[in-house]
Symmetry: C2
Subunit: 545 residues, 2 copies
C-alpha cells in the first residue's frame, strides 16, 4: 500500500518541527470575515504557514459547517503533507459550525447517569459517533473532546457544564463511552485537560490557576479518568495551563517534564499524541516568552504545539534548541513518528472509486447532497431531543401563575450575556418566537444594557416570563451576568410580576435561584441553550397552560 | 448548438405554467436552519416543487455566500429544466450572503452624482459588474436590481436609500449604468417597482399604498426611469403592490392589465420578463385570495409569479382558468417563450473543457479556491471604500469635544433597531472594536431594551460617543427607533455628555438631527451600515483626536 506520508528521513529538522505545530485559523473563507484578527491570520499568511512552513495542522473556529467543508478543502489543497484539522467540538460539530448537530453540554448526560447509567453511556457513545461522523463530513479529523475533568468545584468558570460529571466514576464511564463511540471513525479524540482542570475557580484563559492538592488526592480524583481514557484508546491528551505544586513546583502542566513525560507518558503509559493547550493563552505566553514556551513544551514532552504566538518563531526556537544540544533530536523524531501514526488514521485519502488503487487528494470538491445526507440527520436530532428531555427539570405547581391567564401583552424578558453573540438567541429562535406567538412582548437585557436602576416607576408592571441564559463561560465568567439576573429576578418576584422562569445552562445557578421562588411560579431548567433546548423547555412550560 | 431547454411543445400546460412560478426558499442547507418557516419550505417540499411540480425558479434569502453556492448546486441538481435563481441583492451579493461584497445603498452613489455625475455612473456600473459576477460565482442568475423608483418622498419607509436618487435624471442615469455594468454577465437584471414606488409613505409589505398622481405626473416622474431601463436592455421589470387610480381604478399594479400589459408591454414596448412582486405580501394575498391573485396576475400580463402562497394551488388555478377559457393558451405560451429566452441567457451550462461540445450539468461541485478567487476581491472592496468615502459627510469642529480628552471609560452607546439581527453590529465589527480599543465601554440599546425612563440618576454621567444605525426598513419602519434615538440624543445633549455622533443609514434622519447639535460636537454620516462603513466613519472621527 503506497503511503501518502513522506518518509520521515526525507524531512529536514525544520520540516519535522513544523509538523509539531498546529496553528489557529478562522473557519470563514474570506479575510474580511475574520473575527479575531489578533489570533487568526489572513489567507496569505495562513497559506504560507501551511504550504511553506509546512505546519502539521490547523485548529478552526468560526464559520458554518458548509463553510468549514470548503475551508478544510482549501487547507488540504495548500498542504504538502495532509493536515490534522482540529476543532473544539465538545458539544457536537453544531456547537461551533452552524448546520451540524449541536448537543447539550456533557453534564446533561451526567445528570441522566445519576438515575440511568446505561442509558447515559449509550447517549455519550452515540453523541461521539455522530460528532466524529459529522466532523469527518466537513473535513475535520481531530475532535478536541472528551473532557475528562472532574468538575467538583461548582464555581469553576471554565470547565463547569463542559465536564462529563462531578465524580470520578461518572466522568470515567461517560468519557470512555465517548471515546468508544468515536473509535470507528477516522477522527482523533483528545482527553483534556491533563492532569485535571475540574477543581479551580480561576479561568486559565486569563490567569494561571493553582491546584493545591497533594499527590494522593490527584491519584484518587483527577488522574483516574485519564487512565480510563487511555485504556479506552484515546488518541491524544491535551495538557492544562495549571500549576500543580504536588507534581511540579516550578512549571505549569503544559511545560512540565514531570507532568507530561514522567506522569502521563511513563506512569500512565500513554503512547498517543500529547498536545499542549493553546500556547497563546496569557498564563503561558506572558510568563515564559512565546518562543521559549514552545521549547519548554517540547522539552516537557509535548508532541503538538497548539497555537504558538508566532509559528515560524516557535519552529526556529525549537530547531535552535536541538542544534544547541538542549533538545535531543530523538525527542523530535519520536513526536513526528506519533504524528505520522495519527495521520495514518486521520488523514488517509479515500480510495478513488473509478480508478483502482489511485489515491485522490483529500476532499477534491464539496457536494451539497453529501453534506445534507451526513449532517444533522433525524436520528441525530432525535438523540439531542432525548438528552434534553431526560436531563430537563420541570416544576409544575398545582396553582400555577401560568394557568388561566391571558398571555397577551405579557413580557418575555430574556437575559443573556451578550446579545451580539450569534448562536443562542435570535428573532427566529424559540425563546423569541414561541412566546411571541402567544402574545408576549420581547424585552432583552445583556451585559451592555445601560441603566440598571430598577424600580417600580422605571419598569411598567407586566406579568413576566423570565428566560435566563447563563452558564460558566471561558473568558467572560458568569459573575456579572449572575448579578444582573439576580437583581431582575428579585425585582420581578418582589413586585409579583414573575410569572414563570426558564434557566438555560448552569445547574449551579439554577440551584441557587430556586429556593427563593414563590411556590406558584412554574419553572424549567435545561442544560442546553441552543434553539432545540428552547423549544423543548418552552413546550414543557406552556403545556401547563 | 444543442439546446439545454426542452421543446416548449413537449411540456404539458401544467408544466408550462409551473415554469412561470418562482418559489421562495432559505439559502441555508439544513431544515433546522430555516428562519421563516411560514415562507420557507423544508427540503422535502422544496424538492417536490422543483423536481415534481417543475417550478421555473427559486428566490433565496439567508445563508452565507458559501452556503448559497452549495444550495444553488442542490437546487439545479433537483431541477429537470435549469432554474432561474434570484436574490434581492440590491446592495451587492454581500448584502444578503456573507462573504461576498457588500455595497452601500444606491443613494450613496446618488449623493456622489450631485457633484460628480461621471464618477457616480462609473461606480454604479462597476458595482453592477461585481454584483453580477459574484452572483454568478455562487449560482445566482437573477439579480433583483436595480431599483428605478424615484425616492421623492423622504418619509418613504420601503424605498428610501434603496433608490438611486430623488430625481428622474439621477435615477435614470445611475440605474442604466447599473444595467450596462451587469450586461456582459449571464445574469438577469430587474427594474423595479413598476410603475414607481418612490412617492409613498406606506410600507406595501404591510398594506396597499395608493399613489394619487395623475397620468401627466406619472409620465414626468415615475415612468421615465423605466423607459430608460428598458432602453438600456433590462431583462425584467418587477411590478409594485400599489394602487394607482390614474392608471387603473380597480386593480393594484401587480394585477392590472392596464398597467402591466397596456402601459408596460404596449406603451413602453417592454419585451422582457414581467415579474410580480411577492404574491404572499398582505396587500395581494389577503385582498384577492391567494390563487385568484395568481390568475389575475397572469391575466394582467405577468410572466413570472413570484412567491405565490401555495405554488401547486396557483399552478392549478391558472391551468383551470386556461381550460375554462378565461386565459387564452397563447398568454401562457408567450410567457414561457420569454422565460426560455431568459434561461438561454442565464442558465446556459458551461461548455465542458475536457470533452468537446458536451454539456455539463450546471455547477457540478463547489471549489473553495474558485469562490475565494471570485468573491470580495481587493478591487471590489476598494470600490466599496471609494463609494463610502466619497458619500460620507464629516463635521470637524475647531474646538471639538473629542480633542484632547481621555477616552478611557467613555461610553460607546450604540442604538440599533434589533441587536438580534446578525449582520450589522457584532463584537467583531468596527463600531464595537474601534471604540473598545481606545478604552470606550460598549452600551447597547435596541427596540427590545426595557426601561426607558431617562434621567440623571438612572444613567451614570459619562462622555458618550453615540452611534445610530437607522434607515427606513421594510416591515419595521424606523419611527419607533427614531423616537428612542431622539430621546437619547436629547438626553445626552442636554446633560452635556454627547461627545461625538455617528449616524449610519438615513440621510433624512441625519438632516433632522444635525441642527440640534452643539457646534463643538463632531459628527459623521455614512450611507453604509456594514462593518466597512463603520471602519471608515470611525477612522474619520478619531483622526480628529
Amino acid at each position: 500500500m503506497p503511503s501518502f506520508l513522506p518518509q520521515l528521513d526525507s524531512l529536514s529538522l525544520a520540516a519535522q518541527v513544523a509538523q509539531m505545530v498546529v496553528v489557529r485559523a478562522s473557519g470563514y473563507l474570506f479575510d474580511h470575515q475574520i473575527r479575531y484578527p489578533a489570533w487568526e491570520p489572513p489567507a496569505k499568511i495562513l497559506e504560507s504557514w501551511v504550504a511553506d512552513l509546512g505546519v502539521g495542522g490547523v485548529i478552526l473556529l468560526g464559520g458554518s459547517a458548509a463553510e468549514v467543508a470548503l475551508r478544510t478543502q482549501q487547507l488540504q489543497d495548500w498542504a504538502k503533507v495532509p493536515l490534522l484539522i482540529a476543532a473544539d467540538v465538545e458539544e457536537g460539530v453544531g456547537q461551533r459550525f452552524a448546520g451540524a448537530t449541536w448537543f447539550p453540554p456533557p453534564m446533561a448526560i451526567a445528570a441522566i447517569y445519576q438515575h440511568n447509567p446505561d442509558l447515559a453511556k449509550q447517549y455519550a457513545e452515540r453523541m461521539a459517533a455522530i460528532t466524529a461522523q459529522e466532523a469527518q463530513a466537513i473535513g475535520l479529523n481531530w475532535v478536541l473532546a472528551p473532557l475528562v475533568d472532574v468538575n467538583n468545584n461548582p464555581e469553576n468558570p471554565v470547565i463547569n457544564v463542559r465536564a462529563f460529571g462531578e465524580t470520578v466514576e461518572t466522568v470515567s464511564q461517560l468519557a470512555t463511552a465517548f471515546i468508544r463511540g468515536a473509535k470507528p471513525y477516522p477522527v482523533l479524540t483528545a482527553a483534556k485537560h491533563f492532569p485535571g482542570h475540574g477543581d479551580t475557580n480561576v479561568d486559565s484563559h486569563l490567569e494561571l490557576p493553582v491546584i493545591p492538592h497533594n499527590l494522593e488526592r490527584l491519584r484518587a480524583i483527577e488522574l483516574p479518568p485519564f487512565q480510563a481514557a487511555i485504556a479506552a484508546g484515546v488518541d491524544s491528551v491535551m495538557s492544562a495551563h495549571l500549576q500543580i505544586p504536588a507534581l511540579d513546583p516550578i512549571y505549569p502542566a503544559t511545560l512540565s517534564h514531570r507532568i507530561l513525560t514522567q506522569e502521563l507518558r511513563q506512569n500512565l503509559g500513554f503512547e498517543g499524541l500529547i498536545v499542549t493547550d493553546a500556547l497563546v493563552m496569557g498564563a503561558i505566553a506572558n510568563g515564559y516568552g512565546a518562543n521559549e514556551a514552545a521549547v519548554l513544551a517540547v522539552e516537557a514532552g509535548a508532541d503538538i504545539l497548539l497555537m504558538p504566538v508566532d509559528p515560524a518563531g516557535a519552529i526556529q526556537a525549537v530547531c535552535s534548541a536541538v542544534e544547541a544540544g538542549r533538545i535531543p533530536p530523538e525527542r523530535i523524531r519520536e513526536s513526528v513518528e506519533r504524528i505520522w501514526t495519527a495521520k495514518q488514521k486521520a488523514c488517509a485519502p479515500p480510495l478513488k472509486e473509478t480508478t483502482s488503487h489511485a489515491w485522490e487528494s483529500i476532499q477534491p470538491s464539496v457536494q451539497a447532497k453529501e453534506l445534507v445526507a451526513q449532517l444533522a440527520q433525524p436520528t441525530a436530532i432525535a438523540l439531542v431531543d432525548a438528552i434534553l428531555q431526560d436531563s430537563q427539570r420541570v416544576h409544575t405547581p398545582c396553582l400555577s401563575r401560568l394557568a388561566n391567564q391571558s398571555l397577551q401583552d405579557n413580557r418575555n424578558l430574556v437575559i443573556l450575556d451578550d446579545a451580539l453573540e450569534r448562536d443562542l438567541v435570535g428573532n427566529y429562535t424559540p425563546a423569541v418566537t414561541i412566546p411571541a406567538s402567544k402574545g408576549y412582548q420581547l424585552q432583552l437585557i445583556d451585559s451592555h444594557t445601560p441603566i440598571d436602576a430598577l424600580n417600580r416607576s422605571s419598569v411598567p408592571q407586566q406579568p413576566t416570563l423570565l428566560q435566563l441564559f447563563i452558564r460558566g463561560n471561558p473568558f467572560r465568567g458568569s459573575a456579572g451576568l449572575n448579578q444582573t439576573a439576580q437583581k431582575w429576578l428579585n425585582f420581578l418576584r418582589d413586585t409579583e410580576q414573575l410569572q414563570a422562569l426558564v434557566i438555560y445552562g448552569s445547574p449551579y445557578i439554577f440551584d441557587q435561584y430556586v429556593p427563593s421562588l414563590p411556590p406558584n411560579v412554574p419553572y424549567v431548567f435545561s442544560y442546553g441553550q441552543m434553539p432545540q433546548a428552547q423549544a423543548i423547555a418552552l413546550e414543557a412550560l406552556f403545556s401547563m397552560v
